[in-house]
């Protein structure tokens, strides 16, 4: 079979099932409030998707994905905030036309780095480029010197801590600990009412599927195979003449850009952005979504994100005391017992049964399934 095929049959079925679930079932079953919650969770799914590529395939554990989520989110929020702080909206301030938190902090003119965010085109470019370039700098500095593994994880964590402290400390420029609140319109279109939330939800699901296809493409291309090879035997790949550092930088940048798109979606969906989505705790939680979904599974990341967040919301609503025990226990259980997460359980226990069921009815279908097991044969640890 052609190894470079974009996607194979069972994966296509998986994507269609996910699409049906997100586009048809959820909007029909849930009210707008819950659907908006799902939309919020799905913004994390972008991050989880990036982590599958970077951590699952590339073997680079980044504990700083919140940084990129935050950068993307803040870029979007700056645009929305500027639009919400037009001169007529802010005429009660001592300096009209600047965001309210700047006025509270006695800043009288818009800082220079805010000015380009009047333009939506620039903002969209910034959402992708700012985190991408930042990831490129970090990645180049680290991977060219062959820093990896645990050191990389700790340094990305430190970067997350630095950015959080910086955002909280520079209240006048960033809104401080409260973040940027009261975002209203996107190019004059109000993002707050229910119908806007629904439109945004479908837009987000569309973006998510584009990202899923990109991830699928990376995974099935030669590049994805080099990433896996690099994760398992870095030196051999290096001795074969590949520049390991460049591939790592690429994987890290892709993960960063995906996270940033998630962050921008978050600002649109939820209507605010704050440093509590940037720091170490949210960054590690994002890793957990990926771990629960299965670090090797692109679709698993989406399901893992939804599942953990649903559990988080419902448990913390009804048993606030138990929630952290549950989350902590989940981490430990996933690491100790199910290193490949939900996707691993699915592949080891559920899928064989379905295969048997189908093959006993339609023996011809078997070849497609065996092909799948080869394609998914990325070795578990």
């Amino acid at each position: 079979m052609n190894a470079n095929r974009f996607t194979n049959r069972s994966e296509l079925i998986g994507i269609l099932v996910l699409a049906a679930f997100l586009v048809v079932i959820l909007p029909l079953c849930l009210d707008v409030f819950r659907l908006n919650l799902v939309a919020k969770y799905l913004t994390y799914a972008f991050v989880a998707l990036g982590l599958v590529i970077c951590w699952g395939y590339g073997g680079i554990l980044s504990l700083g994905q919140g940084v990129f989520f935050g950068l993307g989110g803040y870029c979007m929020a700056m645009f929305l905030k500027l639009e919400a702080s037009s001169v007529e909206n802010t005429k009660i301030q001592s300096t009209p036309g600047i965001p309210d938190f700047m006025d509270w902090n006695q800043i009288t003119a818009l800082p220079f780095f805010w000015k380009p965010f009047h333009s939506l085109t620039f903002t969209i470019a910034a959402v992708i480029l700012v985190p991408g370039i930042f990831a490129l700098i970090i990645g180049a500095a680290m991977f060219k010197r062959r820093v990896g593994g645990t050191y990389f994880a700790i340094i990305t964590q430190a970067v997350a801590a630095i950015l959080t402290i910086l955002i909280v400390g520079q209240q006048g420029y960033t809104g401080g600990i409260n973040g940027m609140t009261d975002l209203r319109t996107l190019k004059g279109w109000d993002i707050r009412p229910d119908h806007a939330k629904i439109v945004l939800y479908f837009f987000e699901v569309g973006c998510l599927f584009i990202c899923i296809f990109i991830a699928q493409f990376i995974r099935h291309s030669k590049l994805g195979r080099i990433l896996v090879a690099m994760r398992d035997q870095e030196d051999r790949v290096r001795f074969s003449g590949y520049s390991v550092a460049n591939f790592k930088i690429f994987a890290f940048c892709v993960a960063a850009i995906l996270s940033a798109i998630g962050g921008a979606m978050f600002a649109l969906q939820v209507g605010f952005m704050s440093p509590s989505f940037v720091g170490i705790v949210p960054s590690i939680e994002m890793v957990i979504y990926t771990a629960v979904g299965g670090r090797l599974s692109i679709l698993g990341a989406v399901y893992g994100t939804l599942l953990v967040n649903f559990a988080k919301t419902s448990l913390s609503e009804s048993f606030p005391e138990l929630w952290l025990f549950g989350l902590g226990g989940l981490f430990i259980a996933v690491v100790l017992a199910f290193p490949n997460g939900l996707a691993g359980i699915w592949q080891d226990h559920v899928q064989p049964r379905i295969d048997r069921l189908i093959s006993s009815r339609k023996p011809k279908a078997e070849s497609a399934w065996t092909d799948n097991s080869v394609a998914d044969g990325a070795p578990a640890e």
Binding site: L63, I154, A161, G169, I280, E321, L330
Partner: protein, 308 residues
Amino acid sequence: MFGEYSIGDLGSIFVMQGFAGLILFSVYVLMALGLAIIFGQMGVINMAHGEFMILGAYVTWMTSNLFQSYLPSLFSGYFFLAMMLAFLASGALGMLVEWVLIRHLYKRPLDTLLATWGLSLMLQQAYRSVFGAREVGVELPQWMLGSLKVTDSIEVPINGVFVMALTVLITCAVAYVMYKSRWGRQVRAVVQNRIMAGAVGINTAKVDRYTYALGCGIAGVAGSAFTMIGSTGPTSGQLYIVDTFLVVVFGGAASLLGTIASAFSISQTQSTLEFFMSGSMAKVLTLLAVVGILMLRPQGLFALKVRK
């Protein structure tokens, strides 16, 4: 910036800020020592290190309450007992955690990070359920309050001096245990080559367990010392964990001397900068400098030359 101070004042300010930095340094060293053993020697990323430290702090708090209500006459000396109890409690918890969790994960260091993060969440919630969400502070015995007057304009607090003396003592003890005792040799042998160490008759599983417990126990003592200069809440440990990891990584993971040197430089930079700008900017600049230096010199300040 310096215009409004005379030279004598400036000298005093630097000495006092330096001393504040030394207290910060002591806390960093105490926390980082345990982590240097666990992370530097064993390669386990112990994200729950802060929670082991907080356990020590809570043990100290309970001991002080106990002495206050039942043995008020011995209150002035409770601290020494509290420290031992803190060491034992954190060490015992560490041993349990190693047995249940860590020993399955030695081959997957990145997964120890996730698992111990889960552990830290559970411990935090446990503290919150048992001790309440509010921060608690211990009452210091009379002799630890007040300050020593060195010159007219320079005063140093006694509890700070005590914490520093304690740090020196514990550092020397750890250095002795790791580099001079038979057990320390075994630890280093296991770290360098687990299979060979096992082949020459070292019980590697036991060495691992006690090493981890020792690291956690030192964290407990750090927490105990921490109560003298700050209050303790369920999430206080998390505030220090990144700093501590940076201290260990910056120093060069396998080197105790490096850990001390990096704790010193980081704490001094931070407390000196804090005088000139807001605390958050001082912290940002310090951490940025550390990350920047680590990008240029990933092996840290003091690197052991080992073959991988």
